[in-house]
Symmetry: C2
C-alpha cells in the first residue's frame, strides 16, 4: 500500500519531468523531485518494476526512463493533478475571446487560431456546415448555363453551389425553384432533412419547373453538403517547436494528414462529446506517431462542433486540458447568447 503509493509518485515525477525537459529521467533526478526521502537505489528498484509493468522504458541501457504510452495513459487518467488556471491565464483567454468575429464560419476559423496559440498545439475544429435551422433558400442565374443555389442557416452560415445545366435559366424559373426549395426546407434543422423531403422537392420541381429536373443531382449534393461538417485547421506549424518533431521527415506525414479533411473528420469524430485525451503514441495511424490528441465537444448553434488539438505525447496535459475546458465553456456561452432563439 505504502509502496504502491511511492511507485505512483515515481511515475508521476518521471512523466512530469519528461514533459518539462524531453530528456530521459534518471533515478537521481526523481529522488530530488519526489517528496519522499528514499535513496536513488530505491527509486531505481521502483523504476525497474514500473518498467516491467510496461509503464516506463529505457531508450538505451544507460539512460534514464521515459514514459511509455501506457504510462502516459495511467498518468492522465489516475495520477495527474488538475491544473487550476490563474486569473492571468483566464484573463488572457477572455481577451482573445473578445476579439473573435461573430459570423459562425469566422468564429470557427478564429477559434482554431486562438486555441492553437493558447496551447502551443495544432488545432482542428469540426463544425456542422449549417448551424441551427435553415433560414432561406435562393436560386439565381449566375451565367449563361449556370444556376447558383444558396442556403443560409440560422447562425448566418451561407453555402452556395453552382449548377451547370444545358438549358439557359432565367430569373423567372429561378424564382420558382427558390420558392420550392424554401417551402420544402426552410425552418428545418439539418437533422430533420430526409430523403423523403428531397423527394417532395423533386416532385414539386417536376410539376412546376420540369426544365430543372436535371439539376436534382446538384441539389441533392448541395443538401448533403449542408448536412455535413466543415473542418478548420490552425497552427499547423506549432509542432515544430518540439525537438521530437524538428526533423522535417517526421512531421510531414502529420502535415499532409491535416490537409486531408475527410480523414481528420473521422479522427475527430471518434470522441464526439465531453473532453477526452487520446494518447496515440505508436498506435493508430502512422501519421499520428508520437502525437496526442485532446478533443472537446463545443456548442455551436443547434448541432455540436468538436474542437481538438494535436500535440506531442510529451504534452502538458493538465494545463492544456484546463485551457481547453475554460475556453470551450466560455465559447459555448458566447455562441448560445449570440444565437439564442
Amino acid at each position: 500500500m505504502e509502496l504502491e503509493d511511492r511507485k505512483k509518485k515515481v511515475l508521476s515525477v518521471v512523466v512530469e519531468e519528461f514533459i518539462k525537459t524531453g530528456e530521459p529521467v534518471g533515478s537521481k533526478a526523481v529522488m530530488d523531485k519526489i517528496n519522499v526521502s528514499v535513496s536513488s537505489a530505491t527509486i531505481r528498484n521502483d523504476m525497474a518494476l514500473l518498467e516491467d509493468m510496461g509503464l516506463l522504458y529505457q531508450p538505451h541501457t544507460s539512460a534514464g526512463r521515459v514514459p511509455s504510452v501506457e504510462g502516459y495513459k495511467l498518468f492522465v487518467s489516475k495520477l495527474m493533478k488538475t491544473y487550476e488556471l490563474s486569473k492571468k491565464e483566464k484573463n488572457q483567454i477572455d481577451v482573445l475571446l473578445a476579439k473573435v468575429s461573430k459570423t459562425t464560419t469566422a468564429i470557427t476559423k478564429d477559434t482554431v487560431e486562438i486555441i492553437s496559440q493558447l496551447t502551443g498545439c495544432t488545432a482542428v475544429a469540426v463544425a456542422p456546415a449549417s448551424g441551427g435551422s435553415l433560414q432561406m433558400f435562393e436560386a439565381f442565374v449566375a451565367g449563361k448555363h449556370l444556376l447558383a443555389v444558396l442556403a443560409v442557416s440560422a447562425t448566418g452560415v451561407t453555402k452556395t453551389k453552382i449548377c451547370v445545366t444545358d438549358i439557359e435559366p432565367n430569373s423567372e424559373n429561378a424564382m420558382i425553384l427558390s420558392k420550392i426549395l424554401s417551402k420544402t426546407f426552410s425552418g428545418r434543422s439539418v437533422t430533420q432533412i430526409s430523403d423523403e423531403l428531397i423527394n417532395i422537392a423533386k416532385a414539386e420541381i417536376e410539376k412546376s419547373c420540369p426544365e430543372f429536373i436535371s439539376l436534382m443531382p446538384f441539389i441533392k449534393e448541395f443538401i448533403n453538403e449542408l448536412c455535413g461538417y466543415d473542418v478548420y485547421v490552425g497552427g499547423e506549424e506549432k509542432l515544430f517547436d518540439y525537438p521530437e518533431f524538428s526533423n522535417a521527415s517526421k512531421i510531414q506525414p502529420f502535415l499532409s494528414l491535416l490537409s486531408r479533411h475527410d480523414d481528420i473528420l473521422k479522427i475527430a469524430q471518434k470522441n464526439p462529446s465531453g473532453i477526452e485525451v487520446d494518447i496515440l503514441g505508436d498506435q493508430g495511424l502512422t501519421e499520428l506517431k508520437n502525437v496526442s490528441m485532446i478533443t472537446s465537444g463545443m456548442y455551436m448553434g443547434s448541432d455540436n462542433g468538436i474542437m481538438c488539438v494535436f500535440g506531442p505525447t510529451r504534452l502538458d496535459y493538465a494545463k492544456v486540458l484546463a485551457k481547453m475546458n475554460y475556453f470551450t465553456e466560455q465559447m459555448s456561452k458566447i455562441i448560445s447568447e449570440l444565437y439564442l432563439e
Copy 2:
C-alpha cells in the same frame, strides 16, 4: 564572342545540374554535360571568371560551384530554354482541371491544391472577394440582437456579415434594409462602389429605417470586405521535399508567413499581371530566404486573380513556368466560359 558563348553555356550547365542534384557542380561534371569539347581546366578558368562576376560561388575552397542569386536571375532571364509540355503533361493538367468544382470559392481552393501538386511547390491564390457584379443583397434576423447581411456576386461567391445591435431586428425592417442595399449596390461591380454610394445608402437608411443607422460601421466594413481580396494557400508542406528545407527551423518562418494572409497579399500583389519570376534568395524578407516565387495573373470573373507558387531557389524554373502558363491559360478559359455574360 566565342568565349562569351562558352561561359554562358558553363553557367547554364552549372545551374541546370545544381537544380537537378542540389550538390555543388565541379568542372568535370560541367565538361561531361557541355556540348563543347574543352578540358576541365578550361572550364575551371571560366568558372573562376564567372565567380569574379558574382554569378557563381563556392561553398568552400575545394567544392564545386553553386549559382548565386544573380546567376539564377541571368539564367532565368537570358539563358534558359523554354520548356515545352509533353502531350502527357498537358493531359495530366487537363484531367485535374476537369475535376475542379464550379463555385468560385471552391475553384480557387481546388486550384491552389492542383497547382501545388503539379509544381511541387507551395501555392497561393489571391482572388477578388467578389467576382463580377454584385447580384443580390439580403438582410435577415439571425438572433435576438443579430442581423445578418449577405451579398452574392455574379460568380456565385457569397459573403456574410453578422451585425450586433442593441435593438431587436425583425423581419419587416430587415426586409426594408435588404431593399435599400439591393437598390444601391446590386448590378454594380466592386470597382464601381464608392464612398458616395455608401453615403446614398446611409441617407436611405436614415429615412426608411433609422433604427439601423447604428449598423453603418458594420455595413461599411462589409462593403470593404466585398471589395477586398481573399487569400488561399495550398501545399504548405511541399517544401519539405527539398533537402535545403529539411531542417524544421529553416522552414518555420516561411510557414508562419503563409498564415499571415495580409503579408502574403502584399507580396503576391507586387507583380499583379503577366507571369513573372522573383528569385529572392537572401534578399527581401527573411521568411523567404532561399525561396523563389513565380506569379501569374489569372482571369477570375471581372477582376483578376493572382496565382503564385513558392519554391526553393533551386527550382526547375522552365518546367514550372510552362506548367503555370498552361494551367492559368486553361483555367482562365474555363472561368470565362462559365461566367460568360
